[in-house]
Amino acid sequence: MPKVAMAWDEGISQLSAGAMRYVLERRLGLPVTPIRSQRLGGADLEDYDVVIVPEGTPDRAIVRNLDQFVRDGGVLVAIGRSLGAFSRGDSPLLAVKREAGLGLDLSSPEGEGSGLAEASAIESEAEYRERIRNQQALPDTLPGALLNVVGDPNIFLSAGYDDGAVVNATGSAIYTPLDRANGINAIRFASAQDLIASGYVWGQNQRQMAFKPYLMAQPSGQGVTIGFVHDPSTRAYLDGLDLMIANAVLVAPSRIR
């Protein structure tokens, strides 16, 4: 059976690491070997088939070592916030970007040259509000809602979810879809009108999250990086997603031979 390692210790969310380990070990029966983050950047991972990085901020050494691990034929499963580290740089393991809030103008120029700002007259409260808006802002933070997702039927990662699934989404992370040249959006959020299964979602987030990826997979070298935009193991109460986790951890290693 696949040998599974998991990033552990400083820089990794204890709740995310614990929940994923619990689901894999106690619900699915798969042993997991934690490797401390301080060690992971230089660890010899040849014996492992899968490395899981729970929510967190893995450092550059870890990203480099796991990049090599994937190219050598390993499966990297990145969860939630840790997607940030694996999507940065020139040849990221996940060629996606985090989106800014909807309706913002990222190209807003700063003042240049003279040191004086261009003259303007603000004529309304609404215009004032637009002027003071943080144009680099992320989408508003979701306290947490249950959202509908849809699977791509042509990839094993969505096996068991031909009728879709319900996932938990929290926070402000919304990622661009993976380009077909780079990989597959194995599971994505439903359309805006079908998105909400339960709970409260800010209107802009509902529009912005539609069709965006939930579970993505990008091959690199001999291996693959699998990213869950939101943690499927959270609180061990999304047991409806156990098959999705099993697809990524139990099945995936055999699919890249």
Binding site: A19, L28, D49, D72, D140, F156, S198, G240
Partner: protein, 631 residues
């Protein structure tokens, strides 16, 4: 650090007074003045320090509890209710007057009758359930629980204490998270020097990973009450359902620069909480306030800590009919803490405050015993009679079977009546060929049923409007936790709301989930990829060394459809006898009986049993059209 000389002096003095038959004033042993029975061992005698002078470890706590029980077995009973992953025991303490303790079974039985929505026989007394340290680094709560136990047993001639013991039963769960507290205490003691530091940056305050907050699996146990994933949770839920408390206070700590919080809670309040319950919070709140005002200690209510998510200790218990609260004390996260306002917060301050709130709460219940009991009885009876609805939630056993069966048992384990219809049946215009589970709304725990099984729980309109307004100003929202948790959706099962009569046997929480076996076939055993039980079976089989293939397309065999992702254990490459035996002994086996060759046109890939990354090409699928990862 304790001085050996000081301890000797204190013990000597106490012994002298006891020998003279004088009840030792011993103000240092409780935070309320009074006269105390020297026969009841004090913290100083047993632990070597006064309450709040040191942070008691789980082992030390239990030793003190045992000493108290030994001294007062007629008024204190310790009950073990669970064991942690790391093997530490969890106990609660029942404390009441001797005459009540002698009549405990009858009281408990009458409470159960009332909880079932039926009329009692007068034997019942209200149970005040005070539960501490669900987060292991929220430390002053446990020492407050020990002081509370001491005070209730030792206070002499104190009318308030006498009333609490006579007119109620106090149950203290002093430590919901022993593994977490042990982790904190060990690290704290390792880091503390000859003088404790108040600098929040010092190692003794700055916990390494993982913090003491969480249990062995790093779970926040105060989100787990309805999920029951952890042994600590399962044990305490079972214990609470055996005692049917009318008031539950869950005693926590918060940031050290803060003050004290007790109920009434902040918005949003769950729509499943009744008006009568909201009024009852005021009784407890006012008594807590009186004690804090007398101490001159600041506090706040109605801000930050809400009552919306049902997985907290306060909300979950409230949905069973108790008045469930969270109390929060600013944490010294050590023995001493330098606050930003220039003051110093000590561990003892926290222990004192939590003791006061514990005592004030128990007193409020005892002073209003009949009211709390009557409210609880009315609540349970009204729900049983359909006050929260008369329909039922019907869960199809044909969809994600294992998850549905498991969910049913988790609901049963938390005091919800679940019916299981094992045969093909039709209800509300739908046919259920594999049967169903039904959860009727007309039952005493109806509010918990609604909170968990309703597809959606609406936030109060004015609260939503306020949050949207805040968003417009780029301010953070004020929701403490998630807005959705419908358990049917989270388990991936099919839940329908039905108004007609449903049938079935009452499901026991401990009933095993029956395997669905179709026997082994000539070609293979196939495990459809349809529920958590199947995934677990595959994992266990791979651990045993069986070889497997996974299908990429749905196929039909023996008149039955198998979805893509079905895992096949070919008989040819596996020891057939062992495979069948393994399958039939597994609790979640699901197999079929295909015959002959694999389904025509099927495409399968291997799931290998070999443990390492292959240096040479791994075993490839025998069947044509193996799907490589790249499309």
């Amino acid at each position: 650090m304790k001085s050996g000389l000081l301890r000797w002096f204190v013990l000597g003095w106490a012994a002298l007074c006891a020998a003279m038959g004088v009840a030792v004033p011993a103000q240092a042993q409780s935070f309320l003045d009074g006269t105390f029975d020297p026969a009841i061992p004090t913290a100083t005698e047993t632990l070597g320090h006064a309450p709040g002078a040191n942070i008691t470890s789980p082992t030390e706590m239990l030793a003190y509890m045992r000493a108290l029980e030994k001294a007062a077995p007629d008024r204190l009973r310790i009950v073990k209710y669970a064991e942690t992953w790391e093997g530490r025991p969890l106990h609660y303490m029942i404390i009441t007057a001797a005459e009540n303790m002698a009549n405990l079974d009858a009281i408990q039985a009458d409470l159960a009758t009332i909880a079932a929505g039926r009329a009692g026989n007068g034997a019942a007394l209200p149970v005040t359930w005070l539960t501490y340290s669900v987060h292991g680094n929220e430390i002053s709560s446990t020492d407050a629980a020990l002081t509370m136990a001491y005070h209730l047993l030792a206070a002499k001639g104190d009318a308030r204490t006498d009333q609490i013991l006579r007119d109620s039963i106090v149950i203290l769960d002093p430590l919901q998270n022993p593994d977490g507290r042990a982790r904190f205490v060990n690290r704290f003691r390792a880091a503390t020097g000859i003088v404790p530091s108040g600098d929040r940056q010092s190692a003794e305050h700055d916990e390494p990973w993982p913090s003491g907050r969480v249990n062995h699996y790093m779970f926040d146990l105060n989100r787990d009450w309805f999920t029951l994933s952890q042994p600590e949770t399962r044990g305490k839920v079972k214990a609470i359902r055996e005692w049917n408390p009318v008031v539950v206070s869950d005693i926590h700590e918060m940031g050290g620069d803060n003050t004290y919080f007790f109920s009434p809670a902040a918005d949003p309040i769950s729509p499943q909480i009744t008006e009568a319950q909201r009024r009852a919070y005021e009784i407890i709140g006012r008594n807590n306030a009186a004690y804090f005002d007398a101490m001159g200690q600041p506090y706040f209510t109605r801000e930050v800590y809400d009552l919306f998510y049902p997985g907290y200790g306060d909300t979950w218990n409230t949905h069973h009919g108790a008045i469930g609260s969270t109390y929060e004390q600013a944490s010294a996260r050590g023995l001493v803490f330098d606050r930003r306002d220039g003051n110093t917060l000590t561990y003892r301050d926290g222990v004192r405050n939590h003791f006061m709130a514990s005592f004030a709460t128990a007193e409020a219940v005892a002073q209003n015993a009949q009211r709390f009991l009557a409210d609880f009885a009315d609540y349970r009876a009204a729900n049983a009679g359909g006050a929260a609805g008369r329909g039922a939630y019907v869960i199809d056993l044909a969809t994600r079977r294992w998850n549905a069966e498991s969910l049913g048992r988790r609901l049963a384990a938390q005091g919800i009546t679940v019916l299981r219809q094992g045969r093909a049946a039709s209800v509300c215009g739908r046919s259920y060929p594999h049967g169903y589970l039904a959860i009727p709304q007309a039952q005493p725990a109806a509010r918990l049923v609604r909170a968990l099984l309703d597809r959606n729980t609406e936030l109060p309109r004015d609260f939503v409007a306020e949050q949207e307004a805040r968003r417009g100003e780029d301010l953070a929202h004020e929701l403490y936790d998630v807005t959705a948790w419908s358990v049917g959706l989270m388990s991936g099962v099919d839940v329908a709301e039905c108004g007609s009569a449903v049938s079935g046997e009452t499901l026991s929480a401990t009933a095993p989930i029956a395997p669905v076996a179709g026997g082994a076939g000539d070609f293979a055993i196939a495990v459809p990829w349809t529920d958590s039980g199947q995934a677990r079976l595959v994992a266990l089989a791979l651990r045993e060394g069986f070889e497997a293939r996974v299908t990429d397309e749905a196929f039909t065999s023996g008149g039955r459809e198998y979805p893509r992702g079905t895992v096949v254990f070919p008989a040819g490459t596996n020891d057939e006898g062992a495979l069948s035996a393994s399958g039939s002994s597994s609790p979640t086996r699901s197999a079929l009986r295909p015959r002959g060759s694999p389904p025509a046109g099927s495409r399968m890939a291997p799931i290998w049993a070999a443990p390492a990354l292959c240096a040479s090409p791994c075993q490839r699928s025998r069947w044509p059209g193996t799907k490589a990862f790249r499309n």
